[in-house]
Each structure stands twice: as C-alpha cells, then as structure tokens.
C-alpha cells in the first residue's frame, strides 16, 4: 500500500454504472490521467505512453470485473520514482474473490508462465491477463483491500526506462 509520505497527484471519480456504460471510458481516463502525471517526469511523452498503457489495462480489468452500486475512483500518488495507482470500486463476493485470487497468483513463482499462458491462450480471453502483464512486464506490485462492499486495487509501478 501507499505510504504516508506519498504525494497525491490526482483523483478522478464517477458512478460505476456510468463508467461501465462505455468501453472507451477506460481509454479516455487512462489517457487523461497519464498526460497529467507525466508532466514533471524527465521524458513526459515516453512516461505518458507507458503509464497510459498500464493504467488502461487496469481499467479494462475493472470494467469487466466490478460490483454494481457505487463509484469508481482513480487516484494517483507519487513516491519518488514510483507512482501508486489506487482504483476504488464497488465490490461483491464474486468481485472480491476475483481480485484476491489474481493478487495471490501474482506472488507465485510461476507468474511468468501464467502470464504467457494467458497471453497466448486459444479461445476466450483470460480476465487476469492485464494484471499479469503489469506484474511481469512492468514489475508492478499489486495489492487488494476490501472493506464494506468496496474494494481498493493498489498498484505500485515505476517505469525505470522512462528517462
């Protein structure tokens, strides 16, 4: 989770049923936030591109896996080279189980195998793929916290090559 010393950069919120009414909301929110948080990074365009790519995968995952009543919140905090993306969403048992299971899998030694299997799977897409990608390709640390019908997905990510 994010430490107390992290600086809050931006927070965006909207009703979940509004968010999940249009797929392109994932793209628009990730592009908007990426543009803003990249501004004071050494190479803003490079950073924006990577940040948007990572955040879009998170939002697409949330788009497909969320509870029904409540708001979607997206908050970004900064700790030096690391940014922390916190996505809050309404949650039910099924939603909670999904994210808890994925995060458990991220800690396993076979995460790269799981990622490749999901990436090149025949047939229906694996809903865990986006989070697997963040953990493997971006070395992101993802945690999940549930409380009173809501769930917070926290992703610590540093784009080492974004100079």
């Amino acid at each position: 989770m994010c430490s107390e010393s992290a600086n809050e950069l931006i927070e965006v919120s909207m009703r979940m049923d509004d968010f999940s009414s249009e797929w392109m909301h994932c793209d628009r929110i990730s592009s908007y936030i990426a543009r803003l948080v990249a501004q004071d990074r050494p190479d803003p365009l490079y950073y924006e591109n990577l940040f948007s790519s990572a955040m879009n995968e998170l939002l697409e995952t949330v788009y497909l896996n969320h509870g029904s009543e409540g708001d979607l919140t997206c908050r970004v905090r900064r700790m030096d080279e690391t940014d922390v993306i916190e996505i809050g969403l309404p949650s039910d048992e099924k939603t909670s189980d999904f994210y808890t299971d994925v995060v458990s899998a991220l800690d396993g030694r076979d995460i790269e195998d799981l990622y490749n299997a999901a990436l090149f799977a025949a047939g229906q897409r694996d809903a865990r793929l986006g989070m697997f990608e963040l953990a493997v390709d971006y070395k992101a640390k993802i945690t999940v916290l549930t409380s009173s019908g809501r769930l917070t997905l926290s992703t610590q990510i540093a784009f080492g090559g974004a100079q």
Binding site: E57, A122, Q163
Partner: protein, 391 residues
C-alpha cells in the same frame, strides 16, 4: 488500401514494400471491432512473396485484446506460409513495443522483430555516443551569435510554444529559453546520452521547464498542430530520409506557425592560407558522409525541400561562421572535433587507407592554422531556412 476506426487507428498495405502499416491506438472492447483490420492483414499476406513486414512503429497504444487478436492472425498466417519471413517492425521510442511483439517472434519460427530506429539512421552511431558532444557544444556557441537575430527574422516570438527537434545536447534549447522564454519548450532527440547531458545542463542553469523527450524525429508521438515554431538544426543533413522528418515537422507545426531548419554545405568550408588543401578535405567530407547516406551538402537545398513539403512564405538565409566571430580557439576546437570524428572514426570505418587519412587530416589542420593565424581567415557556411504552414 486504407482502413480506419473512429479515427483511432489507421492501417494500410504498401504493396511495393510488402508492408502492412498500423498506426494510432488499438484498444477495442472485442476482436470483432478489428475484423476488417485482421482481414486486411490476411489479404495482404496472401499476395506477398519472400518477406512480409508488419509495421507497428507508430502504433502508440495496444491493449491485450488487440494484441491477442494480432498474435492469433500472425500465428495462423506464419504457420500457413512457411515460405514467408514475417518481420514485425517496432520502435524504441515506445517503451513496450519491442518487448511485447518479441513474445510473438519467440513463439513462431518464421516471425522476427526488427527495431526500426537503429536501422533507420545509418550514421547515427557516430553521433549518438558521447564523442560528438564537444562538437555540438562549440558549434552552438559559434552559431548562436548569428541565429539569435535570424530567429526573430524567421518569425520566432517570445511566449509561444516551441519545439526543438533533434535537440542534441540541448544547449540551443537552453539559449532559446533564456532569450525567447517560450510558453512551452519541448526538446527532442534520439540520443539518450545527449538527452542525459541536456538535462544536466538545464539543471545546472536552474531551468526546470524544458521538456526533454526521447523520440524519433521521423515518427514523432507529438499530436498534430501543436507548436507555433519548430526548429530542427543541422539534422536533416544527417538522415537518409530528410523528407520524412520534414513531413513530421510540418505535421506538428500549427497552421500559421513556422518551421526553421539549418543545414550546411561542407564542401564550401574555406580558409586562407592553404586554401587548396582545405577545400580538398571538405570535398572529401561530403563524399564521406554520402557514403554513410548523409547529405552534408543539404544547406542550399533547404528552401526547395521546404516548398516541396507544403510550406509557404519560405525564407532562406546564409551566414558564415568564421574565426573572426569571437575567440578563434572556439572555431579551431570545432575543426579539431570534426577531424577526430571524421578522420579518426568515420574514414577508418569506411576502410580508407592510411595515406588518404593522413591527407584528409592535413586539411583540417590547415583549416585550424588558418583560424589561428593572425592574418588568416577560416569560414564555415550555414543555410538557415524557414517556411510557414498554411492556415
């Protein structure tokens, strides 16, 4: 064939190059949205022989839904067409591109990934290592005294949005910032070592609002119509496809804004005494660069190329940097740096004989002597040209 989806992505097949190009953003909600794109790839592959290029170097974003769909089609086609080598052309400008598409190549024998940028710049290795930094520093110091006034004549105004493309070590951007205080100043280059140096220089001067960006001048990620004034100095002459860069400069310039370029004609460098030796060496410099597909004779052609790109109100000026401009040692230092790279590295890499290199070096030394001699004269001509993007 050109296809597009809500202005988000564009795709098309170039039969001459056997190259299918996808650019923009691929973030569909399902594969059905990509049906025409995937069918286009299948149709393109059906008609190729030998090698098929899938060019994604300007595909700025892709989600996993699109990636999986692309992989599925490429895997099917590559297993069906074992006689064809599939090459996916990526870009180092995008942090994820080569890594992501390499996964496809690892799983399919006749699929390879080529990172476009490193192959695009034939002479880039000479310019991207730290050895060129002394040349660039001295050059900017010498040219600025001429360009400061020229920039105003070519339309640069304080408080506007400015981009310096191929910014090198960023010293020109620092001077722009101090003199013209742009409301936005983006400085882009393709050399990470130069950008690292640029950020250090800016930091030393306490300049925190210059955006130093890693990028490919021919394939900029910058949006259309973004800047009021775009500079690109001493750079068109060292790329083998300057027309591609000019088109990008045109694209990112706002309508009514101007693009400003400077270039040289190296064979016209001159000096007295020992004019013949000096002239011979610089004529050979032009041939040497030509060998590496760079045109250091570009200067007088600048105006024509700007017009061909679509610019109007094209202005062309020349100025001669000389040993009389300031400290002759500065001029001599530039020539020495040229000799070190051109004779010490490039001529050797071309396979030139020791005899040739000795004569080649002599011309530089004679140029230095002319610069430092109390009665001598040494000159380096530069063409500055700009054009306005039509409204």
């Amino acid at each position: 064939m050109v296809m597009a989806n809500k202005g988000v992505f564009q795709a098309g097949f170039n039969e001459n190059n056997q190259e299918f190009i996808i650019s923009g953003k691929l973030r569909p909600s399902n594969e059905i949205e990509l049906e025409s794109l995937l069918r286009g790839i299948e149709e393109a592959v059906a008609n190729v022989q030998g090698r098929f290029y899938l060019n994604v170097k300007r595909l700025a974003y892709i989600n996993n839904i699109a990636f999986c769909a692309l992989h599925r089609v490429i895997a099917q086609l590559s297993s069906r067409r074992l006689d064809v080598q599939f090459v996916i052309v990526t870009s180092s400008v995008l942090g994820w591109s080569t890594r992501k598409f390499s996964a496809i190549a690892q799983r399919n024998d006749n699929v390879a990934v080529a990172e476009y940028d490193t192959e695009f710049y034939p002479g880039q290795s000479f310019l991207e290592d730290g050895g060129f930094i002394p040349i660039l520093r001295n050059q900017t110091r010498l040219t600025w005294r001429h360009e400061r006034d020229l920039l105003t004549q070519h339309g640069l105004q304080p408080g506007t949005d400015v981009a310096d493309i191929c910014c090198g070590i960023g010293d020109f951007a620092v001077l722009l910032k101090k003199e013209f205080d742009p409301s936005r100043l983006l400085a882009l280059d393709h050399s990470r070592s130069s950008l690292e140096y640029a950020r250090k220089i800016a930091s030393d001067f306490g300049l925190t609002d210059i955006e130093y960006v890693y990028g490919d001048a021919a394939e900029l990620l910058i949006a259309d119509n973004t800047f009021d004034f775009v500079t690109c100095r001493h750079s068109l002459q060292i790329f083998d496809k300057p027309d591609m860069i000019l088109r990008e400069l045109f694209r990112i310039c706002k309508p009514g804004g101007r693009v400003y370029v400077t270039n040289e004609k190296n064979s016209h460098c001159l000096g007295e005494p020992r004019a013949d030796s000096i002239q011979w060496t610089y004529s050979e410099v032009a041939k040497l660069f030509s060998h590496f597909k760079m045109d250091v004779e570009y200067g007088p052609k600048s105006g024509r190329y700007l017009m061909d790109t679509g610019f109007e109100d094209v202005k062309v000026d020349t100025f001669m940097v000389t040993n009389r401009d300031g400290d002759p040692q500065d001029f001599a230092a530039v020539i020495q740096a040229w000799e070190d790279v051109y004779a010490g590295q490039m001529a050797r890499d071309r396979g030139d004989s020791a005899e040739f290199i000795a004569r080649f070096r002599q011309g530089f030394q004679d140029h230095i002597s002319a610069a430092l001699h109390p009665k001598g004269y040494a000159g380096w001509p530069i063409w500055a040209a700009s054009g306005r993007k039509p409204l």
